[in-house]
């Protein structure tokens, strides 16, 4: 099971967990990126995510292909949401599963780090004072 998508609806952790589940797996992991209430000392009210959708999907798929060759028989599902998200809403969820824990955890780490470096998604933070700013660095 390998699937990557850019979506504009709320993400559902339980669905992604179920999607990678299988009785050959002994370890399942989840990474959930959420909108937090401060950044650089400023009070955040929400984050607007935008993507170069077509390339982002392809680049995520490339990352999964790389993970598949590094971590044989791993299952991975990743969804990144775009649009304006409120505090605590999930912007990205990565689910991995494998017979053993080390490849499941290594694949999780690999996908999140590569995603942060390579996938063309941008965010503009909305602050409680009404201002907005593009965020250049990943957090």
């Amino acid at each position: 099971m390998m699937r990557a998508a850019i979506v504009s609806r709320p993400l559902d952790a339980a669905l992604l967990l179920a999607e990678v589940a299988g009785d050959a797996h002994g370890a399942t992991t989840l990474f959930v990126g959420t909108v937090r209430n401060t950044n650089g000392g400023r009070a955040v009210s929400g984050i607007e995510y935008s993507a170069y959708d077509s390339m982002a999907t392809v680049e995520l798929q490339r990352i999964l292909d790389e993970a598949a060759s590094r971590f044989t028989d791993v299952s991975i599902v990743v969804e990144h949401r775009v649009g304006t998200l409120r505090l605590q809403e999930a912007s990205v969820i990565i689910a991995t599963a494998h017979a053993h824990r080390a490849p499941a955890l290594d694949a999780q780490r690999y996908v999140v780090e590569e995603l942060k470096k390579r996938v063309p998604v941008w965010k503009r933070e909305h602050y409680t004072d009404g201002t907005r700013e593009w965020v250049g660095a990943t957090s």
């Binding site: 995510y49 993507a51 390339m55 680049e59 996938v119 063309p120 941008w122 593009w134």
Partner: protein, 80 residues
């Protein structure tokens, strides 16, 4: 050749557009395209060596462009 160049996030803001069209000689490279884009909006915040994607894959500045290529200037990414 005519090339459409997609702009996103800060680059789109800087150019006031999400897409610009350039006329470049056949066989132009990614590096030459970047020079042409910068010449067109000299005061915009486009760095000398931005990330460029051609047909949904990152491309080096020496890559040769062809008519119909989907070119995009990619600001520093910040997903997740």
């Amino acid at each position: 050749m005519h090339l459409q160049v997609l702009l996103f996030a800060t680059y789109a803001d800087a150019f006031g557009a999400t897409e610009i069209v350039l006329d470049l000689p056949d066989g132009a490279t990614v590096g030459e395209l970047v020079t042409a884009v910068r010449a067109r909006a000299p005061h915009a915040a486009l760095p000398p060596h931005p990330l460029v994607a051609v047909n949904h894959a990152y491309a080096s500045s020496g890559s040769v462009l062809s008519t119909g290529d989907e070119v995009a200037l990619i600001p520093p990414v910040a997903g997740g």
